[in-house]
């Protein structure tokens, strides 16, 4: 009995070790419970977020599949991490493609979403996430300026390579007052997206169609 009493004494190292392990076990259970209660919902909501973002560049009536399910990873030196190419299909045919790219901006990595028609014409571009200077370079956001829509309708066919640059570099695209590096990075990213799309198409001329048709 005196043994049990001494174990319950707060100064006993055995009690302290037990206290630590019991509290770790309890919080682990709490975390497992929290994870189980929220995880399915979080995954669903995040998927919805992705589709919502996609909807900004890719009208929902253009596809009847889930573009997030058919993704290809494309690597390129100009990108910070491999681009994700998503295929939008209508009645089994590729109706559009969306690329998610991460490039280096001025203040940190910048995520863009570019939607392209199969023939290489841009449907729309959005900057999904960035850390550029507010007030100077955030005109790349559609909420702040319509600058980003200048890319709509452009393609490698109708815009020569040397024109894919900001005006300061003798290209076609406006820079912002006090911020050249940000628009330069965006132009470069869009050009990279077009090149990646073209080379992917060239290497998968008939491939993906057959893969998905059972």
């Amino acid at each position: 009995m005196s043994n049990l009493g001494s174990v319950l004494n707060h100064d006993n190292p055995v009690y302290q070790a037990m206290l630590l392990s019991v509290s770790c076990a309890i919080v682990s259970l709490a975390l497992i419970g929290g994870y189980l209660a929220t995880n399915d919902r979080i995954i669903e909501l995040e998927l919805q977020d992705q589709l919502n973002t996609l909807g900004q560049v890719l009208p929902a009536d253009r596809y009847d599949n889930n573009p997030l399910e058919e993704q290809y990873s494309l690597d390129d030196d100009r990108l910070l991490q491999p681009a994700q190419l998503m295929l939008a299909r209508r009645a089994g045919d590729i109706s559009a493609m969306a690329l998610q790219l991460r490039v280096a901006g001025w203040g940190g990595p910048m995520d863009l979403l570019v939607a392209i028609e199969p023939d290489g014409t841009i449907l729309g571009v959005r900057v999904v996430r960035h850390k550029e200077t507010p007030g100077l370079a955030d005109n790349i956001e559609i909420a702040k300026s319509d600058w980003i829509t200048v890319f709509d309708g452009k393609s490698l066919a109708n815009t020569p390579t040397r024109a894919w640059a900001v005006k300061k570099d003798d290209g076609d695209f406006d820079q912002f007052t006090g911020a050249t590096i940000t628009p330069r990075a965006v132009v470069k990213a869009v050009y990279t997206a077009l090149e990646l799309q073209q080379s992917w198409l060239a290497s998968h001329k008939n491939g993906p169609q057959q893969e998905t048709q059972p």
Partner: protein
């Protein structure tokens, strides 16, 4: 327990941010707008209430020698659970505050109060202390956020309806129709300046109050 004094301490005298100079990391990082400040304040308040009550409830079994690791796992768990809950059930708010919720764990005010108050006091005073400290932190976050937002973007409580629901759209005000664009207010240095000015104002008010008190005492002696 002297509750009025507890609240006076939390809201003004011993305010987390302006009196104790704690929790400056989340304070400086999120306050680019009043709405962000309010969101962070509410999240911190929720975690403070959770941890203070919980720790006070189990204070009898925690041995002083290992109290620090026990408190740390409890606080980290409370923050993680809050993070998951906000992500699952208040997803729009999570998109605004997401990154910063994990930062609450670095909020020394929470650990400080778990250690110095909750682990020594019964549940009800610990709960009152959490509410007082949390509200005190929240109003400073909102004040710093409001100063920076008005100067930098010319608005006040922009996107408040995203945080509080569409019923609060009336909070969203445009102070200047052409934004003054004092960029530095939104950039990190602006956070230090806004907090600095707030602290100066608090000190000036405190000094004036003290002077008046002393003058009153002198008159009474005569």
């Amino acid at each position: 327990m002297n509750y009025p004094q507890l609240f006076k301490d939390g809201l003004w005298d011993n305010n987390v941010a302006m009196g104790q100079m704690l929790a400056l990391c989340p304070l400086l990082a999120v306050t680019t707008s009043a709405t962000n400040g309010l969101g962070m304040g509410i999240a911190s308040l929720a975690v403070l209430i959770l941890t203070n009550t919980l720790i006070s409830a189990v204070r009898g079994v925690i041995s002083p020698q290992v109290r620090i690791p026990v408190l740390i796992v409890m606080i980290a768990t409370a923050v993680t659970l809050t993070d998951m809950a906000i992500n699952a059930w208040m997803h729009d708010l999570y998109k605004v505050l997401g990154l910063f919720i994990a930062l609450i764990v670095t909020n020394c005010a929470i650990f400080g109060h778990a250690e110095s108050f909750a682990s020594k006091q019964p549940v009800i005073p610990a709960l009152a202390d959490a509410i007082a400290m949390g509200l005190g932190f929240t109003w400073v976050l909102v004040a710093v956020g409001a100063m920076r937002e008005v100067l930098g973007s010319g608005t006040l409580f922009a996107n408040a309806s995203l945080l509080l629901g569409p019923g609060f759209a009336w909070l969203e005000t445009t102070i200047f129709s052409t934004s003054p664009d004092i960029l530095i207010a939104i950039l990190p240095p602006g956070a230090f300046m806004a907090l600095g000015f707030l602290i100066v104002i608090k000190r000036l008010i405190d000094q004036r109050l003290r002077n008046r008190e002393e003058a009153g005492l002198v008159q009474m002696q005569h």
